[in-house]
């Protein structure tokens, strides 16, 4: 219990705090399900909010794929639902831009950052470190409610008369700064900025909690090098978030001033065609915003992918019944990725007029990321190698993650070269690259985590048949959707266009686009089946009957099947070994809580 004494102040305070955790106190519906301070409930709140956003964001992509796949067809039902946004049953250009912008914003920030980190950092950090809750359960609760507020603001922007933000998820000025230039740059953009500011607050509160909990609240014997890789990954993710989101906040504050206070931070020498007006703004730089945005934007992609890597490493070791290969190399490469994350942002700006010499520095640093990424991939493959594989749904998604990460990572090497980027930038090649390497991959990490820890979250299993259908359709679908886009991109087909049928060069891809759209709809439908499986299993799934159904070593499986607030009854267990003693000395697995015996072999 010395743990508690150190982290929760001294003397009297510590004793009362202890009692608070051990004994069940009366909880109302409000304190248990709404304003809960239990990390496990906050995890579920993040997960379910993230799922709602994922359906909405996915639906947006189905709508614009409908336009891209069938540019000549009219869909009168679209007009029934969306009115003037789909006049004559055709998606209007403004609506199309709003859809792609919100699809990106929602999935990058609200699903794969809030939904992914929020869910698994909250769930796993206290459980796997051996703590009763987060360092500050109250700030943790606030973190969710700021996320919720941000969600409300962004969601309401969908119902504005002038529509939500529609200048792309990167909201580059001058477009995003000038309401006269674009419908979506009117009120929708203000909602976007306010929503994102609230999101930054949420991410900061969460991140501070994750970092301090991992550093301060590990149970006795849980040294940093005995932590499961999930925790290491979430640790670096939190640090990236705490250091990069504030820069976005600064950039957005300056943008807000440019929009409403007549400043010229990003604006200079502008003539607006629609109003025929020349603006007085002088001396600003639109490129400045891009620097500020991508200083967050690039670490952001690692904020998305690192938790997925952590989840995959853990699930893969458990289901290969083998120690993770190269534990320290895994930690080291996570660290290297976290450092490099801050040094590569300008590779998003090779064609903005960046000094070519500076560009070459960023090429070098960008390609360096291939080293830690490759180390991780080889370690996953060698973990699988001659393992005693159990193909649980979680494991399948973990293997699928590695496959997608390799495919998407290789195209990253193309795009990281500033010369090749002259041809490839802003084409479907870029879309294919980032959707595979961070979009679908991160989703696979998330699914892998949900399937693996669902029994711990809800005390029940998900339906296996639906899970396997979910995996195979999503996995094959992801490749069928994004693989062809590489060819379109290499042929020079630009992204963000509403209709390609006007170009002779791109008309040839009409059938391919229709194929992609069809697969996208099938994959979306299968995700709805996953959602059904998830909620159905919460109430009707097969019950978990043993404490440790997967035969895993980590601490969360030493808690009761349905742990209460405080996680462990009685003392928190002490840890005696690392998390990966699988298949050692003839034993299938040895939990972290088991003391090292006298004649045990080293590892």
């Amino acid at each position: 219990m010395s743990n508690e004494a150190v982290i929760h102040g001294h003397g009297v305070a510590a004793a009362t705090h202890d009692e608070h955790h051990v004994h069940h106190h009366k909880e109302t519906f409000i304190t248990k399900y709404v304003f809960s301070q239990d990390h496990k409930m906050i995890c579920k709140q993040f997960l379910i909010t993230g799922m709602i956003w994922a359906i909405l964001g996915g639906l947006m992509s189905v709508l614009f794929r409908l336009q891209l796949g069938y540019p000549d067809t009219t869909f009168p039902w679209l007009e029934d639902i969306f009115g003037k946004w789909a006049k004559g049953g055709k998606i209007q250009p403004e609506f199309y831009y709003a859809l792609v912008t919100m699809h990106g914003t929602v999935l990058v920030f609200f699903v794969l950052t809030g939904g992914l980190s929020g869910t698994f950092a909250n769930f796993l950090i206290p459980l796997q470190c051996g703590a009763r809750d987060m360092a500050s359960p109250f700030l943790n609760m606030l973190s969710y409610w700021f996320f919720f507020l941000a969600s409300i603001v962004i969601f309401s922007s969908l119902f504005l008369e002038t529509g939500p933000a529609s200048g792309g998820w990167t909201v580059y000025p001058p477009l995003s700064a000038l309401g006269d230039a674009n419908e979506g740059s009117k009120a929708g953009m203000d909602f976007w900025i306010i929503g994102m500011a609230l999101f930054v607050v949420s991410s900061l509160l969460g991140g501070l909690n994750y970092i301090t909990t991992i550093l301060n609240m590990r149970t006795k014997g849980m040294s940093m090098t005995r932590l499961p890789l999930t925790i290491w990954a979430l640790f670096f993710t939190a640090i990236l978030g705490v250091l990069s989101f504030p820069v976005l906040l600064s950039g957005l504050i300056l943008l807000l001033f440019d929009r409403h206070a007549g400043t010229s931070f990003y604006l200079s020498d502008i003539f607006i065609a629609s109003t025929g007006k020349a603006l007085p703004n002088e001396g600003g730089s639109a490129i400045l915003f891009q620097h500020l945005f991508w200083f967050l934007g690039h670490p952001e992609v690692y904020i998305i992918i690192l938790p997925a890597m952590g989840l995959v490493s853990e699930v893969m070791a458990v289901n290969s019944r083998k120690p993770i290969f190269g534990y320290m190399a895994m930690v080291g490469s996570l660290f290297a990725i976290a450092i490099l994350a801050f040094l590569v942002w300008a590779h998003h700006m090779f064609v903005t007029g960046l000094n070519p010499f500076l560009g070459s520095v960023f090429v070098l640093l960008t390609l360096l990321i291939a080293v830690p990424s490759a180390i991780k991939v080889f370690n996953w493959l060698t973990t699988l190698w001659r393992g005693n594989l159990r193909f649980t749904p979680g494991m399948l998604f973990a293997i699928g993650f590695v496959s997608l990460f390799i495919s998407g990572g290789l195209t990253g090497i193309f795009l990281g070269n500033s010369t090749l980027d002259i041809h490839l930038h802003d084409t479907y090649f870029v879309i294919a690259h980032f959707h595979i390497v961070m979009g679908v991959s991160a989703f696979f990490g998330m699914f892998c985590g949900v399937y693996h820890w669902f029994p711990k979250m809800f005390g029940r299993y998900m339906n296996n048949t639906m899970s396997y259908i979910h995996f195979w359709v999503t996995f094959l679908g992801a490749y069928l959707i994004f693989w062809p886009m590489h060819y379109e991109g290499l042929a020079g087909m630009p992204r963000r266009y509403l209709d390609y049928s006007g170009w002779v060069s791109f008309r040839q891809f009409g059938d391919l686009n229709r194929f992609i759209s069809t697969v996208a709809m099938v994959v979306f439908a299968v995700q709805l089946m996953f959602i059904f499986n998830f909620f159905y299993s919460i109430f009707k799934g097969r019950k978990v009957t043993s404490q440790n159904p997967w035969g895993a070593n980590t601490l969360e499986w030493t808690t009761p099947i349905r742990p209460g607030h405080g996680n462990w009854i009685g003392e928190i267990p002490e840890v005696h070994r690392w998390a990966y003693d699988y298949g050692k000395d003839g034993r299938e697995f040895i939990p972290q809580t088991e003391p090292i015996s006298a004649n045990e072999s080293g590892h």
Partner: protein
């Protein structure tokens, strides 16, 4: 040397804080790092725009008024006073924290009180300076000052000045509010009951950080 560390103390082995530091203080340190990036982004943006401009107004010309003394123009005198006040409020904060370690309730309250006075004085000075500049025609999007080479200046001199000093002023204001809450809690005896004045230390970290940021803001806008 090796005797200084008791044998067998394994700080990182779990069950204790590796830095022997309470979680809230650790959070504060990470928050300050985060906030440093916010200000860093602002100041680097300022530097970027300023270096890409052909010329820039001379701070010695712009900031040379002092209240009450009338038409006497003394470059940078008023901002030096502001800076002095803020640094002195850091000194009083140090004294409050030190007395907290000694557990002297009324001494803590006294020095916290002076820190709050210093904070308000700084904010008052800033309000006067902003009003004065506003009367001279300066505001967001309006810049009456010429460049040092006599050419017309872009509005970004005032845009950045008001945005960044305003953001800093907002931080000072939050700090004053925090300090007032600390003062009330001290006088109510909340910390005495807890047996430690750790909260004052955390508020102190924030206050010193805000001071440190001012040193950079001061350098960027008034000296360079």
């Amino acid at each position: 040397m090796s005797q200084a560390i008791p044998a067998g103390t394994k700080w990182w082995n779990g069950g204790k804080s590796p830095y022997n530091v309470e979680y809230g203080k650790l959070m504060m340190w990470f928050f300050l790092m985060s906030d440093a990036f916010t200000f860093g982004a602002f100041l680097i943006s300022y530097g970027t725009i300023r270096f890409s401009s052909n010329s820039w107004p001379n701070p010695n010309e712009v900031f040379r008024s002092f209240p009450i003394v009338g038409e006497m123009k003394i470059p940078l005198a008023f901002v030096s006073l502001m800076t002095f006040i803020l640094i002195m409020s850091s000194v009083t904060m140090v004294l409050a924290v030190a007395n907290g370690h000694a557990g002297k309730k009324y001494e803590v309250a006294k020095w916290l009180g002076w820190t709050i006075v210093g904070g308000f004085a700084f904010l008052g000075c800033q309000a006067w300076e902003w009003t004065h500049l506003h009367h001279e025609g300066a505001w967001w999007g309006r810049n009456p000052f010429l460049n040092i080479d006599g050419t017309q200046s872009s509005t970004n001199f005032t845009n950045f000045f008001f945005t960044i000093t305003g953001f800093h002023g907002f931080h000072v204001f939050s700090g004053v509010i925090i300090n007032i809450i600390m003062l009330i809690m001290t006088l109510k005896g909340s910390f005495e009951k807890r047996g430690h004045y750790l909260m004052i230390e955390k508020a102190g970290l924030y206050w010193h950080f805000v001071d440190l940021v001012w040193v950079f803001v001061f350098t960027c806008f008034y000296l360079l």
